[in-house]
Amino acid sequence: MEARATRISLGVWTGLVVLFLWVPLILICVYAFNPSNIQSWPIGGFSTKWFHAAWHNEEARSALILSLKAGVIATAIAVVLGTAAAAAVSRFRFFGRDAVTFLLVLPIALPGVVTGIALNSFFNNNPVHGLPPSLWTIVIGHATFCIVVVYNNVVARLRRTQTSLTEASMDLGADGWQTFRFVTFPVISTALVAGALLAFALSFDEVIVTTFTAGAQNTLPIWILGNLRLGQQLPQVNVVVFFVIVMTVLPVTIAQRLSRDTGILRRR
């Protein structure tokens, strides 16, 4: 293998990168306990008083509710559409199959501002009908780029399972629904949940596209962004940011564990 010196320097580099990745995240969590209004380092003590203030902040709370609603609905849409697309692409060969994959990836491969302005001009200036900003315009935007997250997870799982399982089920007299319920679903269930959790985390945190589809509504990230821009309510922003980190880290950790698990088909 690699020479000792190479391995040691690689190890040191790895350690530095880990610090680079994590020190800012830990620091921002520490700031949530800063008693002072001034955001300097080191923080002037330890206090949880801003947690109380943030919890009773009406604006932040309604932004949180909007974010949760949009996240849940967008995730539900993404799960249905992403799973259907994954099943079609992995089980059937048809003309333009690669194009379908490409189309699904496009919303995350293209710069966010392009997706944002495209949806904005579509909702506002569409020659057929205009859609005023609402929960639904946010949901449409989020679902569009969440589909690929579910799709990727499910397609990877389906690729690893053989079609003979569903054939056997049909041979044994199960109809399509029973086959889905008792064979296909248990196989893809963990991938499905993992995809859904990641889609939710993505939606809950999205801001670049959302600013273009939300109009005057505040999702939680838009509320944070507004306050950061104006330098207002920073102590409460610290607390909300701490909360958002926890809210995204949790589903991702669970999703990571779930995608290692292969549902009812344990790895031999």
């Binding site: 994590w22 189309l103 699904l104 945190d205």
Partner: protein, 296 residues
């Protein structure tokens, strides 16, 4: 009653089983329709509106074909400069992330024990998904005059930095937030190189450097290309980072102002948005040649 509906269901499923194309269409139609209606149609409307203009008196959209917007973009030095600045930053961030990510991914894939590898994987994955705004904000606090970095430099007896709200800050923050997007594909590419390839190279007399240059690097290239799609595209399309940690305009800021800001000129914003779109199209074609799509 229950028996009848059951047999109907059975007939339906038998019919679907006998006609696989029907099942395929039924599965594919909803997601495809969604993407076509909400995404491709939106992109199409965007493209068309780039050729419209705004009546300077009424501020209303004029639906007449014109090249004015593209003319302004090409001939106005300000817009040209902003476009070049953005593309230049995207390239710098991509290069920086590739340089930081490669040794890390190499250690993860080829030196670390399986257990450590899993831990490192989670260590990279969590920042990727954790709050984007929080990470930008963290750097704002770090780079501030009375922030953690100057405090640390002071303790070490080093001179203070004044990077807050400069291009250096934008470069650091972009490199930071997109780093995991580079690490993961490079790691996946390196992990797939069989040990036997490296042994074979050594047996054939390849020194470490030769093995690296002629075996490892070419095989890691699709991973680097895949990662660079993200770092490049995300930088091109981000207007929030420059506005929070810097004080110059990027392509996204111009678009944002023209859509949601005071200068309400959607056609011009649409025309300007074609720049990142074209740059990414060219980039995706190049990346595909390098095999990036298999490594995504």
């Amino acid at each position: 009653m229950a028996g009848r509906s059951r047999s109907a269901r059975r007939r339906l499923s038998a019919a679907l089983w006998r006609r696989p194309w029907l099942r395929g269409v039924a599965l594919l139609l909803p997601p495809l329709a969604w993407m076509l209606i909400f995404y491709l149609a939106a992109l199409a409307v965007l493209f068309v509106s780039a050729f419209w203009s705004i009546d300077s008196f009424t501020g209303k959209l004029t639906h007449v074909w014109t090249w004015t917007n593209f003319d302004t973009i090409i001939h106005d030095p300000t817009y040209r400069q902003i476009a070049f600045r953005t593309i230049w930053m995207a390239a710098a961030v991509t290069l920086t992330d590739a340089l930081i990510a490669f040794p890390f991914a190499y250690y993860m894939a080829r030196v670390a024990t399986p257990r450590l590898r899993t831990i490192l994987f989670v260590i990279v994955l969590l920042p990727l998904w954790s709050s984007y705004l929080a990470r930008i904000y963290a750097w704002r606090l770090i780079l501030n005059h009375d922030g953690a970095l100057n405090w640390t430099l002071g303790k070490l007896g080093l001179p203070q930095q004044g990077w807050a709200f400069t291009n250096t800050a934008i470069w650091i923050v972009f490199s930071y937030i997109w780093l995991p997007f580079m690490i993961l594909p490079v790691y996946a590419a390196l992990e797939r190189i069989p040990d036997s390839f490296i042994e074979a190279s050594r047996d054939l007399g390849g020194r470490n450097w030769t093995t690296f240059r002629r075996v490892i690097l070419p095989l890691a290239l699709p991973g680097l290309a895949a990662g660079s799609i993200f770092t490049f595209s995300l930088t091109l399309g981000d207007y929030i980072t420059p506005s929070l940690v810097g004080n110059v305009d990027f392509i996204g800021n111009v678009i944002y102002r023209n859509v949601l800001g005071l200068t309400n000129n959607l056609p011009f914003a649409a025309a300007y948005a074609t720049i990142p779109l074209i740059v990414m199209a060219v980039y995706l074609i190049l990346a595909k040649r390098l095999g990036a799509f298999e490594a995504l």
